[in-house]
């Protein structure tokens, strides 16, 4: 029987599994306890309400944040750069593709606050990345 087909012992399998599992859970804990530099939204109720509305109306089905989401509509990470009135225009009446969700003024303001905050977290524009020969990218 060739070496490659010779079975591993249960002990070796268990050791390998435990090493991987411990590494994975350590990595997980590190991520949980050390968020990247974005500041927590402790008192920004309007932003959190905006995030809740984003989820309530399932905006993610059609739009993306940082390129993650549905592709029927555009990425909205930095839509605030176009100004609050631009956003309001879409939210008030919808478009020929996007339904009118009949949002009230307060909901519209909360969504705008959410987009305003998102815009401060970074840029989703792929043109803003430096590309290196080793395959890495950096913003």
């Amino acid at each position: 029987m060739s070496l490659i087909m010779k079975p591993f012992s249960d002990k070796h399998k268990a050791i390998l599994f435990i090493v991987l599992a411990v590494s994975f859970f350590s990595y997980t804990v590190v991520l949980y306890v050390s968020p990247p530099v974005d500041r927590p939204l402790e008192h920004a109720t309007a932003v959190l309400d905006g995030k809740a509305l984003w989820q309530k109306y399932n905006c993610n089905a059609c739009h993306q944040l940082y390129g993650l989401g549905g592709y029927l509509g555009p990425d909205l990470t930095n839509v605030y750069e176009k100004g609050p009135d631009y956003i309001k225009g879409f939210l008030v009446t919808g478009t020929n593709v996007m339904p009118d969700f009949h949002l009230n003024n307060e909901e519209i303001e909360h969504l705008i606050s959410y987009f305003k905050y998102l815009n401060t977290t970074g840029s989703a524009d792929p043109r803003s990345f430096k590309i290196y020969y080793d395959g890495r990218i950096e913003q």
């Binding site: 399998k13 991987l20 939204l41 089905a61 944040l65 792929p126 990345f129 395959g135």
Partner: protein
């Protein structure tokens, strides 16, 4: 046919039957969603895209998950001689899963969302899924006589089931304010859980396909071999650490990006092995070509190769910056969920649903399989070309309007939708005859067992008189 009377083997197959019905639903919702891409405003006020997309995604995700539960429970009985689990837990598990799917559909149709990718339903429904999954885990563990010297597929099933539970729970951490308040870290944790979750159901699926291949070839050498375990550990390593490739453009910790990049590149070993063993695969293909389930596995292998090449390219950040947020990602997902998941699971479903019943018309099944594969290839290429055009738009120094990009990709989206219709036809040519033949066999044997039970009862009554 008589064997279908065996309740032990018949009940797990109900998971597969339910999953096949979900696949049909997923295909229909997929077509509606496709039409909404090319006909702006199609059903905008009745069943708009933010409802159709989750209906499609959830149907397809639950097709994969529920079918895999049925496949594992069925194969587990064939693996050991022990009658292996509590029928009560099994029934409870199916009822909980079906109830969850029903509630999910109702909530989507009514426009009630939790609003997170994949699990877009209100969070309370996930309690049914978690409870059902715990019952599944209990059933699987309770069925194993020993954990010593088990083949690789048992390791893969147990790992996949445990990691699915962990990652599913992890995907709900956003309900805790600490996670919800850190927007970027919330996205990081969300995509960490999703990346590993897909890895976990793939782990269950590849384990099941190794079991099926052992069953077809009649040899268990591979599933106990060193190479099988090396590939399992490589898969597990990727499941645990490569999820960061979803986040290359998200401003999270740079080490998340570096780890994902380095770990993803280890998949080159899998690609290398596939290329090195292609001659062996060809011999096996010649040997088992008459076995329909094997044909599904074979097509699945072709899609693994294509998807792996695309995935490896997309795992390089310098390429990902172009492909991210484009239809190339959709093409990759479709290649994986249809080309790999659906074909492999259909192969397992075919093997299980026909082992005690008459096979459906083979010619129709083969024609459906060929048609589905050709259509999927056109579907996949159309998405990739549309993705390249969107990437060119995204990278264009002049900021052209979004509508200009939509106009340029429209012919490719039309070809994607047309191919989607043909793909659906091909898949329905497989699923409907398979369901028809199994259900007629199931009900015939059920009626037969009822009749024989009545006859025995009458006989006993007569003898008592």
């Amino acid at each position: 046919m008589a064997a279908s009377n065996n309740k032990n083997t018949a009940f797990p197959k109900l998971f597969i039957v339910s999953a096949l019905l979900l696949l049909c639903c997923g295909l229909v919702f997929g077509l509606i969603g496709g039409l909404q891409y090319i006909i702006p405003g199609f059903w905008r006020n009745t069943l708009s895209f933010e409802k159709v997309r989750p209906l499609h995604v959830s149907s397809m995700v639950f097709w994969i998950i529920i079918a895999l539960v049925g496949v594992v429970l069925s194969f587990l009985q064939q693996h050991g001689t022990r009658r292996n689990y509590s029928p009560f837990l099994l029934r409870a598990q199916l009822i909980l899963l079906c109830l969850a799917v029903l509630l999910i559909f109702i909530s989507y149709f009514r426009g009630l969302f939790g609003g997170r990718e994949y699990w877009e339903f209100p969070p309370y429904i996930s309690i049914f899924i978690i409870a059902s999954w715990i019952l599944f885990l209990v059933n699987v563990i309770a069925s194993l006589i020993t954990i010593k010297k088990q083949p690789v597929y048992i390791w893969m099933w147990l790992t996949g089931i445990c990691f699915f539970l962990f990652t599913f729970l992890e995907s709900y951490l956003w309900l805790i304010p600490y996670f919800n308040r850190h927007l970027v870290n919330d996205m990081t944790v969300q995509w960490k859980s999703y990346g590993s979750m897909v890895g976990s159901w793939n782990m269950i699926m590849y384990g099941s396909s190794i079991f099926l291949m052992d069953k077809i070839s009649g040899s268990k050498t591979y599933s106990h071999s060193r190479i099988a375990f090396l590939l399992y550990f490589l898969g597990l390593f990727n499941l645990m650490f490569n999820w960061g490739h979803h986040l290359y453009t998200v401003p999270t910790h740079p080490y998340v990006h570096y780890i994902a990049y380095a770990v993803s590149m280890t998949e080159l070993l899998i690609l290398g092995r596939m290329i090195l063993t292609w001659r062996q695969s060809l011999t096996a293909a010649q040997k088992f070509r008459h076995n329909i389930a094997y044909r599904f596995l074979l097509f699945g292998d072709v899609w693994i190769l294509l998807t792996l090449v695309l995935a490896l390219a997309m795992s390089i950040p310098a390429i990902n910056v172009y492909t991210h947020g484009t239809y190339i990602t959709v093409g990759h997902t479709m290649g994986a969920t249809i080309g790999i998941n659906t074909f492999l699971i259909l192969g397992m479903a075919y093997n299980l649903l026909t082992d005690e019943c008459r096979e459906p018309n083979r010619k129709i099944i083969i024609a459906g399989l060929n048609l589905a594969n050709i259509a999927l290839f056109v579907f996949w290429i159309s998405l990739i070309v549309a993705g390249v055009l969107k990437a060119a738009w995204q990278m264009n120094p002049e900021r052209l309007p979004y509508a200009a990009m939509l106009d340029s990709v429209k012919p490719w989206l039309i070809s994607f939708v047309v191919a989607g219709f043909v793909l659906t036809t091909g898949l329905l040519m497989i699923v409907l005859p398979l369901l028809k033949s199994y259900l007629s066999c199931y009900f015939t044997s059920h009626l037969f067992s009822l009749r024989s039970l009545n006859a025995k009862k009458q006989k006993r009554e007569l003898s008592l008189e």
